[in-house]
């Protein structure tokens, strides 16, 4: 299945794009998206522990199961304020 992935801050810089689509097996967890990004750019590995994931604008655990067309966002440490 396909999910849309939004990238911000350092994750955007590492990916080189602010949005992409990844193809993952049906029933995959949100973490699978991170692994796909690592496959594309190994430097993502170092950042993995500090990246949070949101699905359809809601924070989720890495184990959260995705559905077709979900919007997954990769959220580096936030720094608003």
């Amino acid at each position: 299945m396909k999910v849309r992935v939004k990238l911000f801050s350092i994750a955007k810089d590492l990916a080189g794009v602010d949005e992409t689509v990844v193809e993952i097996p049906s029933g995959s967890s949100a973490e699978t998206v991170l692994d796909q990004l690592i496959a594309r750019n190994p430097r993502f590995v170092d950042w993995k522990p500090s990246l949070r994931l949101a699905v359809n604008q809601e924070y989720v655990r890495n184990g959260h199961l995705l559905s077709e067309n979900d919007e997954v966002a990769v959220i580096p440490p936030v720094s608003g304020g």
Binding site: F8, S9, D13, Q57, Y59, S79
Partner: protein, 145 residues
């Protein structure tokens, strides 16, 4: 009221909106762009937001604070895009009958905002470098300006 904007924050107008006839206390927090960071000179900041989620989390914080402290009103405004040194990047105002609730709610909102709202700051340094501020982990990464 929550808002994310690329324009200067109209503080006077927001204060008038937040102050209700039954209010006795208004607490305001303004985060301003400092001219230095970790000992280095900063020339400006830029914020980016994951807009729909940032607005949603801000609205949730607003509702939480209103319910918890019985506030009369809340305004939270955050800038995106370039922000000059000395300008307000974030503005929070809360009104209540008495000052205790106003101080507590205001502090809760800025603390929570800094932890959960998907907004990111890039600092522009005098030497031309640009860095994402990753304060949550006290890490820094440098990219070419």
């Amino acid at each position: 009221m929550v808002k994310i904007t690329d324009s200067a924050i109209n503080i006077e107008k927001l204060l008038v909106q937040v102050t209700k006839p039954e209010s006795g206390a208004v607490n305001v927090f303004i985060g301003t762009t400092r001219n230095h960071s970790h000992g280095r000179k900063v020339t400006g900041l830029e914020y980016e937001a994951y807009m729909p989620m940032a607005l949603k989390t801000l609205q949730e914080l607003e509702q939480d604070a209103k319910a918890r402290w019985g506030l009369h009103d809340v305004a939270i405004v955050h800038r995106v895009g370039k922000v000059h040194v000395g300008e307000a990047s974030v503005f929070i105002a809360v009104s209540s009958a008495h000052r205790d609730e106003a101080y507590q709610a205001s502090r809760f909102l800025i603390d929570q905002l800094k932890q959960v709202v998907p907004i990111w700051k890039r600092e522009f340094f005098e030497d031309g470098t640009v860095e994402w501020s990753l304060q949550a982990h006290e890490q820094k990464t440098e990219i070419e300006a």
